[in-house]
Subunit: 316 residues, 2 copies
């Protein structure tokens, strides 16, 4: 039987996984990421871990279809990492190095794109031809998958939907330096910021605007009838629905999947986003479905395995 | 030698063309479109014209790689036309009918997408892997081409960038029923509307706001120092630059090509759009190039030929 490895390389841990050639997860485990000395040990650590795992399981090189690696960095069309600040890397050809050490085909992908592929193959996007993932976390990231392939775009910059300008009247800058980016309103940070603003503007609420607040607190407060929390959710949904309508005008995906911490709010998030999406969407695009991410923390490893298995099918 | 036919089917004329299998245009000619009786003669007219042309040139069926047809209608992923109001058609499987009559492989594509493929293959997008065409005419249409393939999207609705909401403060509805669509500002109609607005609001200008005005008059007036005309161009560029920045966040195309009547304004249009694109674009996307459409009225037939020749390569 054939296998592949899916590896989700993060700033604190490296998640390893073994999949069958049918895409079934067999085993997963993780190591701390050795970020010391500008991350110089990371690639050899991955190579040795895999060679060791193959040894223990008596796998021959011929049995291993490939290794897919998701990296927290911009990855260009040829698979080269430009800068990975969390790992300490400058320009690095991860795939080439890993291939030299293991003699196994290697595929490198941006970690957000790996998660998008994972959601497409096994999560909220399953069963669709085209999907956009929006990850509503500290910021808003995402990925675009068309016919089983991630759209990387010029210099790997596709899928950065968090930086669509949705409000050109904004006076506070986004972390990116622009004004009115989607992530200023529809991230976990964004909904908390909105909550504080509404509270300070006199809307009633149960949370102190000056204390520590997390996105989940705001969603919990909505259930308690908190006015500021409801308005913060409306703002999040308004701008997210508007951005999704813009995305639909460009590529008209079959489904838009919402992931990240904010997506744990569930049905109330979907309902709010869909309401504003219907308001802003061009009529032929109004059939677009919305779904919650479903692959959880394993999205990355699933996506890396899918990348390997799908690349194999193509070169067959 | 192998050949293919490219056909641009419009509401008033059908443009026929013959290309070599290397993509070289050999011959083109046109017929009026027989739109009588709900367009029931159109497909047989195309089939007979081609069979006749083959006869006259002693082409065997084996020499003809395929027929590509651009249709002024939404075409779904399987090539079926849903409704084509300009032709009088209801749901029609154009490719199947044409194939039955000619016994030659047929490929059907939306006419705006055909023009986008034509610009990609032989016009302003030539030499790039990914391209977005924005056609600034009476409305704003367009097409998205990634790695030589048009993105059709759910129900054929991709590439409708003219209906991205760029101004949620707008109180006048777009033809689509929504408010603040790109085409309300950045089409030929849009710049004329803006001109009239600025004149009526007291800006100085050489054209009467109550007389007939065309987009080219506005561009000519700019050269004469017309204040209202300059502001209308700034508004066009502001919203177009903003929409292009949103497009870049989604798919980060290598080049954005501007076509349609408004693009005859040339360098002054490019300069204005680029200025606002730089303001709104997420920094990794700022390398996106801008170009003017270059395939002119032949974009459609070039795109249809490219579609046939590219589909052939894939099935090889």
């Amino acid at each position: 039987m054939g296998y592949c490895y899916g590896i989700d390389l993060g700033g604190t841990a490296i998640k390893f996984s073994l999949f069958t050639d049918q895409g079934k997860l067999v085993e997963k485990w993780q190591h701390p990421t050795k970020i010391e000395e500008k991350g110089k040990y990371i690639i050899s650590d991955i190579a040795l871990t895999i060679l060791d795992h193959m040894d223990q399981n008596n796998f021959s090189k011929e049995q291993i279809i490939g290794i897919g690696v998701g990296v927290p960095a911009v990855v260009d069309e040829s698979g080269i990492v430009n800068v990975a600040p969390n790992l300490g890397w400058k320009q690095t050809d991860v795939g080439k190095k890993l291939r030299e050490m293991t003699d196994i085909p290697c595929y490198v992908i941006n970690d957000a794109n790996a998660a998008a592929l994972g959601e497409y193959a096994c999560g909220g996007g399953r069963g669709n031809h085209s999907m956009v993932l929006l990850t509503l976390g500290t910021g808003v990231g995402g990925g675009v998958v068309l016919d089983g392939k991630v759209v990387t775009g010029l210099g790997g910059a596709a899928g950065e939907m968090g930086h669509i300008c949705v409000n050109d009247q904004e006076t506070i800058p986004c972390n990116c330096g622009n004004y009115g980016c989607l992530e200023q309103y529809s991230s976990a940070t964004g909904i908390v910021r909105s909550y504080r603003e509404f509270r300070n503007a006199g809307k009633s609420g149960i949370l102190s605007p000056d204390g520590p607040i997390e996105a989940r607190d705001v969603f919990d407060a909505i259930k308690e009838g908190d006015q500021a929390a409801s308005e913060a959710l409306e703002r999040l949904g308004y701008y997210l629905g508007k951005a999704c309508a813009a995305i639909a005008c460009v590529i008209a995906p079959e489904v838009i999947v919402l992931g990240g911490g904010v997506s744990h709010a569930g049905e109330i998030l979907l309902t709010t986003v869909k309401k504003y999406f219907q308001q802003f969407a061009f009529s032929p695009c109004r059939q677009t479905k919305f779904a919650l991410a479903a692959a959880g923390n394993d999205a990355g490893i699933y996506g890396c395995a899918y990348l390997v298995l799908n690349s194999r099918k193509e070169s067959d």
